[in-house]
C-alpha cells in the first residue's frame, strides 16, 4: 500500500510542479535557516573538556565595595567574574582542593630567531603549575613546570604546537631558548595543538571561541617582568590600581574537586575564608556569599553564547513557523482541490484512514524534498557564518547527527503541517462530492 500511495503522491506532485516547487522552497528556507542557527548553538554549547568537566570548579568571591546605587543608569557593578591577586594567592597557598591554579590572559612580543625579521605578538596565558595536570593538557614533548619553579619565577615557557612550529620548524623545541618581551626563556614543553572550545578557563569575552593560546608562562614570572595582561581589570575603592592590589579583580581561579564530599568541604572552606577575611575588614558585601560553580554552570553563568546568537535562533524558529503556516495553507488548497478524486476513492471503498495515510505520505514526500533543500541552504548558511570575523565562526560545521536531524526535522515539520489538510481531506463525504460533479 505504501508504494502505491508513494506513486500517487509522486503523480500528484508532478501534476502541479509550480505549487510543489513553492512548497518545497518554503520548507527548505525555514528548515535551512533554523538548522543553521541550531548547528551553531549546538557546537558552541558543547562540553569543552568531556570526562573532566564534572571535576572542575570555579570559586567566586565578591570583594567589592557596596554599590551606592545612586547612578540613574546603573549596571556597572554586576557580579564579579574574576579574583584579586591577594585572594588568588591565598587560595593557592592554602591548597584545599586536589588541584588549583590561577591564570590570566596576556600577550608577549616574540623576537624571531631569524635576525632581520620584525618581532611579533602572540597571545597566551600566564598560569600556575597545576594548570597542566588539572586540565589534562596534552604534551607532545616535555612537560609543565613545578610549584617550586612558580615560586622561583623561573624563565620557562610551554609553547602550543602552532608557535613551536613557527619558531623552530619541525626541529626539537624543548630545551631551546626563545626571547619573549626581550627576556630569554627556556622551552620546557610543547603541546599537541591544544584548543578546547570554548577556551573555558579564560576570562570570557570575544576571544573565548577564538584561536588557541600560543604560549603558557608562569604567572609569577609574568608579574615580575610586568608582562602585558589582557582582559577586564576592574578596581574600586581608593587603593592604587596595581595588579597586586586587593581592590582590583582580574584573575581566573580554577580548582579540581574529585568527589561530591570534597565539593561540600571546599564550599565550607570558602565560607570560612570569606568570614575570616570579613573579620579583617574585607568583603563588605555581606549579602554576597562565596559561590562555587561547576564548569558547565560557569559557562552558562558567563553567557558564553552571545545573546545575538540565541536571538538569531529564535528569529529562525519564527521564520520556520511562518514557512510551516504557509505550507499548511498551500497543502490545504492542494488537497481540497482533489475533493472529487477523494470522493471517488471513498465511494469505491477507501476508508477515511486510507485517505488520511495517502495524504500524509504526500506531505512527508514534500517534507523530504524540502529537507534536502533545507540541508543545502543550511550548508550555505554555515558557510556564510564561517566567513564571519567572530571566533566561533570556524566551528560552524555540521556533523552526521545534525545532518540526519535536519532531514528528520523537515519530515516531522511537514507531516505536522500535513495533518490538518489531510484530516480535512479525509472528511470529504463521498456522495455529496459526486453529486455536485
Amino acid at each position: 500500500m505504501f508504494a502505491y500511495y508513494l506513486d500517487l503522491a509522486l503523480r500528484s506532485l508532478k501534476r502541479n510542479p509550480v505549487l510543489t516547487g513553492l512548497m518545497v522552497l518554503a520548507i527548505g528556507l525555514g528548515i535551512g535557516a533554523s538548522m543553521t542557527m541550531i548547528t551553531v548553538l549546538h557546537v558552541m554549547s558543547g562540553d569543552p573538556l568531556p570526562g573532566r568537566s564534572a571535576k572542575l570548579f570555579v570559586p567566586m568571591l565578591d570583594p567589592r565595595a557596596p554599590d551606592s546605587g545612586q547612578n540613574a543608569r546603573a549596571g556597572i557593578m554586576g557580579t564579579p567574574d574574576a579574583f584579586t591577586w591577594v585572594d588568588a594567592v591565598n587560595l593557592l597557598r592554602e591548597h584545599r582542593a586536589d588541584r588549583q591554579a590561577a591564570m590570566s590572559a596576556g600577550s608577549v612580543a616574540i623576537t624571531p630567531l631569524d635576525a632581520g625579521q620584525h618581532p611579533f605578538f602572540a597571545g597566551g596565558q600566564y598560569v600556575t603549575a597545576d594548570f597542566f595536570p588539572m586540565f589534562d593538557v596534552p604534551f607532545a614533548a616535555g612537560n609543565g613546570w613545578t610549584d617550586a619553579q612558580d615560586q622561583a619565577r623561573a624563565r620557562v615557557v610551554v609553547l602550543n604546537a602552532g608557535l613551536a612550529r613557527k619558531l623552530f620548524g619541525d626541529g626539537e623545541a624543548v630545551g631551546r631558548l626563545v626571547r619573549l618581551d626581550n627576556t630569554e626563556f627556556r622551552v620546557i614543553g610543547v603541546l599537541r595543538d591544544w584548543h578546547p572550545q570554548p577556551a573555558f578557563y579564560a576570562q570570557h569575552g570575544a576571544r573565548v571561541f577564538g584561536g588557541p593560546d600560543q604560549f603558557f608562562m608562569p604567572l609569577q614570572t609574568a608579574m615580575e617582568l610586568q608582562a602585558s595582561f589582557r582582559g577586564h581589570f576592574s578596581c574600586w575603592g581608593d587603593g592604587t590600581e596595581s595588579r597586586t592590589s586587593d581592590q582590583c579583580t582580574w584573575l581566573q581561579v580554577w580548582v579540581e574537586l574529585d568527589n561530591p564530599l570534597e565539593v561540600l568541604a571546599y564550599g565550607r572552606y570558602l565560607d570560612n575564608y570569606w568570614r575570616d577575611q570579613q573579620a579583617h575588614g574585607r568583603f563588605p558585601r555581606k549579602d554576597a556569599p562565596p559561590r562555587l560553580y561547576g564548569l558547565m554552570a560557569w559557562l552558562a553563568h558567563e553567557h558564553i553564547i552571545p545573546d545575538t546568537l540565541s536571538m538569531q535562533l529564535w528569529l529562525a524558529v519564527g521564520f520556520l513557523a511562518v514557512c510551516m503556516l504557509s505550507v499548511v495553507a498551500l497543502l490545504l488548497a492542494k488537497f481540497l482541490r482533489r475533493s472529487g478524486e477523494i470522493s471517488v476513492r471513498r465511494a469505491m471503498g477507501a476508508r477515511r484512514r486510507d485517505v488520511f495515510v495517502q495524504f500524509g505520505i504526500e506531505s512527508a514526500l514534500i517534507g523530504t524534498l524540502g529537507g534536502l533543500l533545507g540541508l543545502a541552504i543550511a550548508q550555505l548558511g554555515l558557510w556564510s557564518i564561517r566567513q564571519r570575523p567572530d571566533g566561533y565562526a570556524h566551528l560552524a560545521q555540521m556533523d552526521v547527527g545534525m545532518l540526519v536531524g535536519t532531514v528528520a526535522l523537515a519530515i516531522a515539520a511537514s507531516v505536522l503541517a500535513g495533518v490538518l489538510p489531510a484530516w480535512r481531506a479525509c472528511l470529504v463525504a463521498p456522495a455529496l462530492q459526486l453529486k455536485t460533479q
Binding site: 545612586q70 612580543a109 626581550n182 519564527g318 488548497a333
Partner: protein
C-alpha cells in the same frame, strides 16, 4: 459597502482557510515589526558620531620592546619623526580613541562624598591631542604645556591622582552639572579634585553600546608612559594612503626593536569595529525579505485555489452582469479583510513579542509608530500577492456559467 455582505458570507464558509491566512499575516507582522526595530537600533549604533575628524586621521600602534627605556622620551622622538612626514599636519600619542576598545572607565562624582555618580571614559594624550583629533572646544580652553604630567602607569596610573585639570564632553557636563556652567567646577573620579577647564562638543567612548551614556568622556593632560602606544596622525586631505605607507617605515628607522600594528585609517577602525553589526543588519534584512516572500507565497497559493474553486461562481456572476472590475474588487476586498484580521492580531503579537525581548534580551520598548507602518506594509503585501490570481479571476468568461462542469 453592499459588496461586503457576500464576501463575509463566503468567508464564513471558509473559516479554516481564512483564519490560517490571518494567522500567517499576524505572525509575519509581529516578527517584521520587531526585526525592523532591531535593524533601526543597529543602524543607530553604527551611525554614532565619534566627534573626531574621521576622514583625516591615520593611526598606528607601536609597542617598544625595550622596557628599561624612558617611554616618554621615546614617544617624543617618534612623534618628532612622524611630524616630518610630508602631508602630516599634526600628531599625538594617545591611549584611548573612539572604537579602539581601550576603555578605562571610572565613576565620577561632583564632590568627594557624593552618593550620586556618573560613569565616564578617561582619555590621555600628549599636547595637541584636541587639535589632532579635531575635537570642537565649545567652552573654556585647551590644556597649557605646564599642565601635562606623566600618567605613571608603572604605579597603577598614579598620575590621575595628581592631575589638576580636565576637559569634559558636553554630554557629561550636562549630566554632572545640569543647568550650570561647568567651567571652574571640580570633578572627582578619585579623591582629588580636578578642575574642569574646557568642554568639547562630543567625544565618543572607546567602547559603545546601545545605552545612553556613549558620549561621557573626560580628557586629562596625562602623558601615556606605557611601552605600547597609539600614534594619531592628522593628514592633509587626500594624503592618508601615502602617509600610512611612510609611517611604519619611519618608526622602524627610529627604533627597529618594536612591534608595529599595521597602520590604518580611522575610517577602517570604525568599519572593523562595526563589522558584526553590519552582518547582523544583513541577516535581519534577509529574514524580513524571506518572511514577506513566504507570506506572499501562502497568500498567492491559496488565492489561486479559491479562484479555481469558484470559477463556476465567477462565471455566473459575470453572466448576471458583474463587470471584470467587480470581480477584481471582490478578491481584493476579501484579501483586505483577511489581512486586516491578521494585522489586528499581529499588532497584539508584536507587542507581546517585544515584551518577551525586553525581559530576555534587555531590548527597549517598541516605538508605537512601527505598528501602523507594519500594518500598511502587510496590506500592500497582501494586495500585491492577490493581484495575479484576482486578475485571472476577472478574466473568467461568463460562458463558464453555462458549462456543466
Amino acid at each position: 459597502m453592499t459588496e461586503l455582505k457576500p464576501i463575509l458570507a463566503s468567508l464564513g464558509r471558509h473559516k479554516l482557510i481564512a483564519s490560517l491566512l490571518a494567522l500567517l499575516v499576524a505572525l509575519t507582522c509581529a516578527i517584521v515589526c520587531n526585526v525592523a526595530f532591531m535593524i533601526q537600533r543597529q543602524e543607530a549604533l553604527m551611525g554614532l558620531p565619534s566627534g573626531v575628524a574621521e576622514d583625516r586621521l591615520v593611526l598606528i600602534d607601536s609597542a617598544s620592546l625595550d622596557r628599561t627605556a624612558n617611554q616618554l622620551v621615546r614617544h617624543q622622538t617618534d612623534l618628532a619623526a612622524l611630524r616630518m612626514i610630508p602631508g602630516v599636519e599634526s600628531v599625538a600619542a594617545v591611549d584611548a580613541l573612539p572604537f579602539n576598545g581601550n576603555n578605562w572607565t571610572s565613576s565620577v562624582q561632583t564632590s568627594p562624598d557624593a552618593q550620586a555618580y556618573e560613569v565616564a571614559s578617561l582619555f590621555n594624550g600628549t599636547r595637541g591631542e584636541l587639535g589632532t583629533l579635531g575635537l570642537k572646544l565649545v567652552a573654556g580652553r585647551d590644556f597649557r604645556a605646564d599642565e601635562y604630567i606623566p600618567l605613571d602607569a608603572a604605579h597603577g596610573n598614579d598620575g590621575v591622582r595628581h592631575v589638576a585639570s580636565a576637559i569634559i564632553t558636553k554630554a557629561l557636563a550636562e549630566r554632572l552639572f545640569p543647568g550650570q556652567n561647568p567651567l571652574g567646577k571640580s570633578i572627582y573620579p578619585y579623591d582629588n579634585p580636578i578642575r574642569v577647564i574646557g568642554v568639547v562638543e562630543h567625544l565618543l567612548r572607546p567602547d559603545v553600546d546601545a545605552g545612553a551614556d556613549n558620549g561621557q568622556s573626560i580628557l586629562f593632560p596625562l602623558l601615556p608612559d606605557t611601552n605600547s602606544i597609539t600614534y594619531v596622525l592628522r593628514t592633509a586631505p587626500g594624503e592618508r594612503t601615502r602617509v600610512m605607507r611612510q609611517a611604519a617605515a619611519t618608526l622602524y628607522r627610529v627604533d627597529p626593536d618594536r612591534v608595529l600594528r599595521d597602520p590604518q585609517t580611522f575610517v577602517q577602525l570604525r568599519a572593523d569595529y562595526f563589522q558584526r553589526e553590519r552582518e547582523m543588519i544583513g541577516l535581519l534584512i534577509a529574514s524580513v525579505v524571506g518572511l514577506m516572500f513566504v507570506t506572499a507565497l501562502g497568500i498567492t497559493g491559496l488565492a489561486n485555489f479559491w479562484v479555481l474553486q469558484r470559477t463556476r461562481t465567477i462565471g455566473i456572476r459575470r453572466a448576471v452582469g458583474a463587470t471584470r472590475a467587480d470581480i477584481l474588487r471582490y478578491f481584493q476586498t476579501e484579501n483586505f479583510l483577511i489581512v486586516t484580521l491578521g494585522v489586528v492580531l499581529g499588532v497584539t503579537l508584536a507587542i507581546g513579542l517585544n515584551l518577551l525581548l525586553m525581559t530576555h534580551y534587555a531590548l527597549p520598548r517598541l516605538p508605537l509608530w512601527y505598528l501602523p507602518v507594519g500594518a500598511v506594509t502587510l496590506w500592500l503585501l497582501g494586495q500585491l500577492a492577490i493581484l495575479a490570481p484576482a486578475v485571472r479571476a476577472s478574466r473568467v468568461p461568463p460562458v463558464v456559467a453555462t458549462r456543466s462542469v
